[in-house]
């Protein structure tokens, strides 16, 4: 039987980040991926023979420190910025918000001069709040009662908050708990601007913008650098995982794909290794699971190994995957009314108002599928022609809400998407050569994402910080000795930041090694 110091289960950016850091520190590390591709759901794969499509996320930005520490540029990471976000408006008006704030103010002015006046102040406030969140994101969440390290973290955060100034301090606190509808109504009057800015707050969330605490999800996306102005990598987001994999390998980590269903071997309450579908067993000193908590503890571990109370907490985690991905292979560059060629390199959003987003969600609440969806559209080939044969294009659509519970067939989602987008790009249907639809069911079946949730569990305050993935186990540990979590299920949650992986390594390294040294 082969032995490793660490086995990492799964190979999303968090898993590979953890593996790379551990290997860099000299550990013997094995990464095991159940599916055929390194990256799990964060991959760019070939569809229709000659087109490259992202499987789940089409954007994401690893934390700067990870890019630097692991020298990812040397391993082929080339960031492509998306410097604008455009709103698809039913009346055909052009509304492209550039990342440059002065230029953005000018654009907003044509919708509302008042809003233009407030835009920079608003962005400054959300910058502050997301900056605060970012600080919390680089720390292990506290336990209750807090340890000495926790108290230190709290002090750091409180001083950070105080440092913003009194008024700013309470404003940031309000933002964290507010509904995004409430927030935007305080600042702006233009429905178009509110729709566009509010859409990020419901991205990936099974809630509408009227719901309490939705601003938190907006700040989350901003904190991980994936808010309004997003980034991808040359070759698609899959290149991010490829670069990470290369870095991990360069430090000696081994990567295996196609491992099939993996279970954790538990001996006397201690995770001692894994067993593959083939029956092969591999032992390790520690196992780090990148999978979500429900999959890890109810599929990879035999539930009787865990206390009933813990199993109940795992069962209570809310997943409700509500996003489908649609990739289209196009014969040419799509033409949208009011969208310039330059804006096609950015993100296009169908969210003309807050009420539109809420209505998109209304059906989902009852487990039904809304025919008035919230869409985010990118045409990655506009900035990266390598993703399609010459002259051809790939269009990628994030469709929400397609609730897991509704189990809506892919062809219906495709039809609806084409219907909606054809209102803005009349020639679109005639340009479609092929299509690929990935539903929440597909995510669950192909990548073991519970209920197809791409974020390892809803990004709500109820499942954030010291409550993520379950209360009492937010320190990347599990009730089983030597079994850890590092994925989107852990703090700071979903997205391609890699912070979960890095935090987990720090936590396991710092606290456990300190403890081990004491023993």
């Amino acid at each position: 039987m082969t032995t490793y110091e660490t086995i990492v289960l799964g190979s999303s950016p968090n898993a590979l980040t953890a593996a790379a850091y551990l290997a860099r520190a000299g550990q013997r590390v094995l990464v095991l991926e159940s599916s055929l591709h390194i990256g799990g759901a964060v991959t760019t794969t070939t569809f229709a023979g000659e087109f490259q499509g992202d499987t789940s996320f089409t954007s994401g930005r690893l934390d700067d420190s990870i890019v630097k520490d692991l020298k990812l540029q040397q391993h082929g990471l080339e960031v492509i910025e998306r410097n604008s976000i455009s709103s698809l408006l039913p009346d055909g008006r052009s509304f492209t918000l550039p990342s440059d704030r002065t230029a953005a103010t000018e654009v907003i002015g044509s919708f509302s001069p008042n809003d233009a006046d407030r835009y920079e102040k608003f962005m400054a406030l959300v910058d502050l709040a997301s900056d605060f969140l970012k600080s919390a994101y680089t720390m292990t969440p506290q336990a209750h009662p807090p340890t000495a390290i926790d108290a230190q973290h709290m002090m750091t955060l409180v001083s950070k908050l105080r440092g913003y100034g009194n008024r700013e301090m309470t404003e940031v606190m309000r933002l964290l708990v507010m509904s995004v509808r409430d927030l935007l109504e305080e600042w702006f009057e233009s429905p178009q601007l509110k729709g566009l800015l509010g859409s990020v707050a419901v991205r990936g969330l099974p809630h509408g913008p009227f719901a309490g605490a939705t601003t938190f999800n907006l700040l989350h996306h901003l904190a991980i650098g994936d808010g309004y102005f997003r980034a991808t990598a040359k070759g698609g987001v899959g290149s991010i995982t490829k670069a990470l994999a290369a870095a991990a390998k360069s430090h000696g980590a081994e990567l295996r794909t196609g491992a099939g269903k993996v279970t954790v071997v538990i001996t006397d309450g201690v995770a001692t290794g894994v067993e593959l579908a083939s029956g092969e067993q591999i032992s390790a000193t520690q196992i780090i699971s990148d999978y979500d908590a429900r999959y890890t503890f109810h599929q990879m571990v035999d539930p009787p190994e865990l206390e009933p109370e813990f199993n109940r907490a795992v069962k209570r985690i809310r997943y409700n995957g509500s996003v489908a991905r649609i990739n289209l292979a196009l014969s040419g560059s799509p033409e949208f009314a009011g969208i310039t060629k330059e804006a096609l390199r950015g993100t296009l959003t169908l969210a003309p108002s807050i009420a539109y987003l809420e209505k998109a969600f209304d059906a989902a609440k009852y487990g039904e599928f809304s025919d008035q969806p919230f869409l985010e559209v990118t045409v990655p080939t506009e900035s990266d022609p390598t993703l399609a044969p010459s002259g051809k294009h790939v269009m990628s659509v994030w469709l929400q809400y397609a609730p897991y519970r509704s189990n809506t067939p892919g062809d219906r989602l495709l039809e609806l998407t084409l219907d909606r987008l054809s209102q803005f790009a009349p020639a679109l249907r005639s340009q479609v050569l092929h299509s690929q639809v990935i539903t929440p069911q597909d995510y669950e079946q192909q990548f073991n994402l519970t209920e197809g949730n791409l974020y390892g569990g809803d990004m709500t305050l109820t499942q954030a910080f010291y409550l993520r993935p379950v209360p009492g186990f937010a320190q990347y540990r599990s009730p089983l000795k030597q079994l850890y979590l590092c994925g989107a299920a852990t703090h700071p949650g979903g997205g391609i930041s890699g912070l979960g992986g890095r935090n987990a390594v720090n936590e396991i390294g710092v606290r456990d090694l300190a403890l081990a040294a004491k023993d």
């Binding site: 301090m169 309470t170 509904s179 009227f210 719901a211 809310r318 709500t460 209360p471």
Partner: protein
């Protein structure tokens, strides 16, 4: 022109204004309460709009009245008699029903009829909610700290808040953290499976709030209503003999005994300001009253956007007041009835159930759809209702053999598209009665008189902005040290000598008396 000098003037004789005045007077202050209407109580009134029938035109139940207030003001001696509501009756569309009784075991057996599992979970649920409510109660009586301040007093209060959280067990700390941020529906799903039980429980998460039970944030409102629970059985709400107006009369009587002067039909037009400090008020009729301090029982929008000239206030504060959320989905319907409504779902021998709450809330989805209908500026096609037949509890509420029915109704938007008018009022009233008649088919034949208070009527009648019964949403960004505005949650205002004492201050709405009492404590700190 008259001029009179007082230590304190309280604008508005709502229950909190009266409580505030009584506490100040007991501390030796010369206090004047100015009430716009012909009677004290604000929204806590009983009115005979149709001869012989006493209507609860706004608030209808007492659940959270602070025991300190009852004791300190000796309200029992002043005529307050709270009769516990015996039960809740939830008729269901399929002809079945769910009931809860004052007796825990009887309720458990009843729940078992719907789900054995729920009956088992119910014990633990009741214990847990009670435990949380008891643990958090000290927060209700606190003057909220300013988290940005490093003054010894604020640091001490913050330490007390931490103390409250620290004494929670690990399990309760996590549960509280989750409940504060989640939806009532999600929370109840963790406990129960029966749609009827979840429906009736979820009502506590949405009463008075413009949210559905699936909105995160409704979990807190649920907890808010449990803070008044006294003995672990469902929600224990009380009914004041003579209606909620009798409570106001009792507080007014205590206040008068302590020396408070109460002026009715005295509508305040503005707060007078000299040298950056409040000096008194001027009434609509031109009369002026001066005082060392002025306390407003009105909501912040009314106080700071109408009564105080905004030139006296910091721009930032005016901004905070403007953004304060106060849209409301709540209406009140009263019916004068020629006899008792007969509920199809009510089994023979269980007529006693009509003496309690009658709740039309058969499921979480029912409530959520009612919210969906209203949230874009409409009203619920099938509204949620919390009804009472006060004349069964207190026969003095209607002539012999006749009855009154009080119905708290949600959702109908204060931001109704096109605004409310007589025609729309009549239409919504029909919707309410039609919905209730689905459960009590003889209802329509019994109606002698009907009366509705829409959010606009509540605003016009009582001066509640947006008709909001809690003086503003119990949204997370409007709680505790953020209510009504960051840095001004301690009952003080940026205008010197002006204070707030209404439901827009901590701990918020319902008939608690806590804002009135806490504000008096804050005032007495400043002016012993």
């Amino acid at each position: 022109m008259n001029n009179h000098k007082y230590d304190a003037i309280v604008i508005g004789g709502g229950h909190n204004g009266l409580v505030n005045a009584a506490y100040l007077a007991k501390a030796g202050k010369r206090v004047l309460v100015l009430e716009r209407r012909h009677t004290v109580g604000g929204a806590t009134v009983t009115e005979e709009i149709y001869p012989g029938f006493k209507y609860l035109i706004a608030s209808y139940l007492i659940s959270l009245l602070r025991p300190e207030v009852i004791n300190d003001l000796d309200l029992a001696r002043h005529g307050l008699e709270i009769m516990p509501l015996e039960s809740t009756f939830v008729p269901l569309p399929d002809g079945n029903y769910l009931a809860d009784w004052p007796d825990h075991d009887a309720t458990k057996m009843e729940i078992a009829r719907h789900s054995k599992r729920d009956a088992e979970a119910y014990d633990e649920y009741a214990r847990t909610m009670r435990r949380l409510a008891v643990a958090l109660r000290p927060l209700l009586d606190m003057i909220p700290p300013d988290p940005t301040s490093v003054s010894p007093k604020d640091l001490e209060t913050m330490a007390r808040v931490r103390g409250v959280l620290d004494q929670l067990s690990q399990e309760d700390f996590y549960l509280l953290s989750r409940l504060m941020t989640m939806s009532a529906a999600d929370f109840l799903d963790e406990w129960f499976e029966s749609p009827a039980l979840k429906g009736t429980k979820a009502t506590s998460g949405v009463i008075g709030s413009f949210m559905g039970p699936r909105s995160p944030g409704s979990g807190y409102v649920l907890l808010h209503h449990y803070l008044g629970e006294v003995d672990g059985v469902f929600r224990t709400w009380g009914f004041a003999r003579g209606g909620t107006g009798a409570l106001s009369q009792a507080i007014a009587s205590a206040a008068r005994e302590a020396g408070v002067e109460i002026k009715l039909d005295a509508s305040v037009a503005r707060v007078n300001v000299k040298n950056g400090a409040a000096t008194g008020v001027t009434l609509e009729n031109g009369d002026e009253y001066s005082a060392d301090i002025v306390v407003s029982n009105a909501d912040p929008k009314r106080t700071f956007l109408k009564l105080v000239d905004s030139q006296h206030l910091p721009e930032e504060f005016v901004h905070d007041v403007k953004r304060y959320r106060i849209s409301s989905p709540s209406c009140k319907v009263n019916l004068a009835l020629d006899g008792l409504p007969e509920f199809t779902a009510l089994p023979k021998g269980k007529e006693a159930l009509l003496r309690g709450s009658i709740e039309i809330a058969p499921s979480v989805d029912y409530l959520e759809r009612a919210y969906d209908d209203a949230k874009y500026g409409g009203w619920a096609k099938k509204p949620f209702m919390d009804a009472l037949i006060p004349s069964l509890i207190d026969p003095g509420m209607a002539p012999p053999g006749k009855h009154v029915m009080s119905m708290f109704v949600q959702y109908a938007s204060s931001d109704l598209e096109g605004g409310w008018n007589e025609e729309k009022k009549a239409q919504f009233l029909d919707t309410v009665i039609d919905t209730m008649a689905e459960y009590a088919p003889n209802l329509k034949d019994l109606i002698l008189h009907k009366h509705i208070m829409t959010p606009w009527d509540l605003e016009r009648t009582f001066g509640l902005t947006g008709g909001h019964i809690f003086h503003g949403e119990l949204a997370l960004q409007q709680l505790f040290f953020l209510r009504p505005s960051p840095q001004w949650s301690n009952y003080r205002t940026p205008l010197k000598n002006l204070y707030m004492c209404g439901s827009s201050t901590h701990p918020g709405g319902c008939i608690t008396g806590a804002p009135g009492r806490n504000a008096a404590l804050a005032i007495l700190e400043d002016r012993p």
